[in-house]
Symmetry: C2
Subunit: 565 residues, 2 copies
Amino acid sequence: MRSKRFTAIVLLWVLLVSNLAFGRQNSPSSGATPKDPNDPIERIKDEGLNRSQVMQILSYLTDVIGPRLTGSPQMKRANEWTRDKLAEWGLQNAHLEPWGPFGRGWELKDFSVEVIAPQTIPIIAYPKAWSPGIDITADVVYVDARDENELQKFKGTLKGKIVLTAPMREVKAHFEPLGARMTEKDLLELANAPMPGRQPSRRFDLNDPRTRERIQNSIFAAKKLQFFTDEGAALLIDPSANGDGGTLFVGAASVPQPLDTSSPAATMRSLFMGRIRPYDKNAPPIIPQMVMAIEHYNRLARMIKAGERVRMKVKMDVQFYDQDLMAYNTIAEIPGTDKKDEIVMLGAHMDSWHAGTGATDNAAGVAVCMEAVRILKALGLQPRRTIRIALWSGEEQGLLGSRAYVAQHFGKLEESEDSSFMRMVSGGSGAPPKIIPGPEYDKLSVYFNLDNGTGRIRGVYLQGNEAARSIFREWLMPFREMGAATLTLANTGGTDHLSFDAIGLPGFQFIQDEIEYETRTHHSNMDVYDRIQADDMKQAATIMAAFVYNAAMMNERFPRKAMRQ
Amino acid sequence: MRSKRFTAIVLLWVLLVSNLAFGRQNSPSSGATPKDPNDPIERIKDEGLNRSQVMQILSYLTDVIGPRLTGSPQMKRANEWTRDKLAEWGLQNAHLEPWGPFGRGWELKDFSVEVIAPQTIPIIAYPKAWSPGIDITADVVYVDARDENELQKFKGTLKGKIVLTAPMREVKAHFEPLGARMTEKDLLELANAPMPGRQPSRRFDLNDPRTRERIQNSIFAAKKLQFFTDEGAALLIDPSANGDGGTLFVGAASVPQPLDTSSPAATMRSLFMGRIRPYDKNAPPIIPQMVMAIEHYNRLARMIKAGERVRMKVKMDVQFYDQDLMAYNTIAEIPGTDKKDEIVMLGAHMDSWHAGTGATDNAAGVAVCMEAVRILKALGLQPRRTIRIALWSGEEQGLLGSRAYVAQHFGKLEESEDSSFMRMVSGGSGAPPKIIPGPEYDKLSVYFNLDNGTGRIRGVYLQGNEAARSIFREWLMPFREMGAATLTLANTGGTDHLSFDAIGLPGFQFIQDEIEYETRTHHSNMDVYDRIQADDMKQAATIMAAFVYNAAMMNERFPRKAMRQ
């Protein structure tokens, strides 16, 4: 007995010494000082990496709740499930905050689609969101018109028909990988980015030939949709604009709009402003619409061109919901201590498109934010400021949920939608609009957003806020070994931090690895749980938790950038 | 007028001179001698590259005729269409040659599949070939059993249910390209391959742990199928074993088989020999079966594990054809001149699986062979030997069409199926079986096959026939600049040249670039026209035409390899 105990003691001693040596050897690469297991950031890493629940959260949101189109019953269920889960973890004030009215909810109730003649062909296709239903067996017409003249050739031929609405799209072999992580070159380019200037949105820069081409395409698309409507087509089928091999990208159904091409400005206004949305309560009746996998679309087009009479059977049963036209954000808090009136926010949009389950866009961001506050609660950390999590809706329709929330709580611009549009088009010339602060404008310290897919965090977009650089540099030190070190002055857009940034509040989106975001997942039928990289999610959740905690513990409110004069 | 005419003459003269100079400058890189436009091979290249019809043939076969499952009406239509097309081009003796009986034809008449509870989910899935039909709405059970003990837990729970038959499969991001061409390294390895020896087929080598694992898996699969059958499951759904993103791989339905595990030899025999096929005229009734896209399969499995009650609605209407149990090969000839009794053959299998349109497997090979003979006819070339094209059926069920054709025309082995199997398992020990020559055994010079997808030809597998090397080396000279130069002694298998090789006749398959054959197309729902590389097809057709023409013009019959003693 004695010798065994002695051996055990020696072993324990050896282990301790070797651990210490190991710790010392590693300290230079992992920070200036050895890791202290009681350091909150080290504890966050330990909880987030070793006892993660991020994938369970993600599976429930995507697999069980499913797609979360704004206004849909599944979106509401996600609101309620996340609220209850956050409350269960001990967050306070967990509630749904309505905004709107947004418009009608929509849900697919029954769907089948196949070619039945000249032979049976199972077809991969999805209805566009807010499309009306249809139950039809009809001939298919291939409208390969590239301009209005060619379109006129189809006059009188489309009534009651199923219409392939656009020319075939060539599909290439994939000699390049579909997925990628940021390279050192990519990161260096970001690190060296200059201060973002005032530039007209490239989307609206009429000096850019791509913009002019895009506008021409938009005008033709609008006229084509009107033509199909006037002709009485029964069902419109678009080829998927991206993706192949069974992956297709699906958005909302199109509504014919008044088009005014009397001047460039009028054209721009009528193309991009005051549009009727398919979810508007009083939207006019539209033709049912769907998107088809490109290989199936191309095959049908070639069959028709070869003289075959192609007939399809489509059953699309949908349900609209117009009892409650409001939409909801899920909100919950970890109350602060000595600075509890001030707020640090984190958030991600929870709404998604409907053909997949919105996994990378953006259950991933939601699961990371939820996991971040779960970690903080699990560790019993007491933040000085109140930490508030927001899970937005309506992002896919134009950051609607976060914009509404920010307007109500923090403030808005004294500017009409029209002048906002003209300012965007012109590159922000003229005096910037005045900010009308809301009740919590001075209370918000900083907002962190996650919405660029499943890829791990590689750094932060500073949105031109140079004062944030040294703060984030320090906060990222413990995460360098996990690949997150790069700070860029550059802006990034397209998601909910813009709602904060627009009124001068610090709102940040992290730099993330792309993985397969553009090629396979972003708005596709294959944006599903299996696309998620578990290790990346865990890394992102620990960084989000650490950033939020650090922000909540600062002595001063997070520095704001000077508003442009 | 005069000055214009003068200018024209000068221009013409300049063009001629510059063309000649251009031709001379290029001659060193394109062969030892300047190209002679009257050289038959140069004419073949010109016709095949500049007036190709290979993509039109391919489109008709895949888009219009569609999938060509052996025994199906579409296969018969493909037989007849190719026969008529070959006759239209002026080939002689174009006809269908029956073989068999093969068994029943099968065709999908109506198919829809969706999850209807707890929410509507459109599902990507395909019936397995020769599956019976079903019209059902039922609960889904997830059988994740990995061994017989785990399977027993499901006893009494499967009656009338839709069964997910196997554990989930992990899906990874694609950080590597799906498509690739042969690298210099790949080609060098082939070039340096040693003489293929007599080795037991790796598929049956019991010393290989992978073989043992595969056999264990086969035994478990057989027992599982019997269990599902005994329990009265209504519909079996497999996860696609490969592919993702909407691409799935689908073969034939499984039939429960008697299993004898009394000894290793008995196990092997009962697993691999004398099996009942789902297309056998008297095959017993089986459970309807289909394959589901992996992401959808995994989602349903996770929903069920999370406690959700998943219900599916499946309508699968199929038609069996048993009036004519024979299958057919399409045969046609370009008659020879002074050696017209001798035959040079080219061929490819035309049958396919049913979920795609069999584009790379193997409408590509068919279109290349047809285009090759079209080129020869279009140029009015007069071969010395008769050139015979064969478009096989039954390849996917075991090279059945070509084996039957070879047995009838050229000869067969004096060997029972059982001893053939034992010879394959043992690596060919003992005396080789005797060849019983058929009527044309001495007439066949050589057979060329194409069946490795859409990729261009990079060289030839010599199948251990060293005497072929110098001949092919010369024939490939004009195609070096098109990437085809490598000769390998190695064997390649899996397709119809083996039917010739087995009885000592020269039968060759070309080395081809892989492109996306294994990752995306081979037996998948996405093996469709859009996967085809047009330039590769043109290259392959010209090489096929040149090889066939060269073989038909040789003074001597193509050298045969010494049969193993």
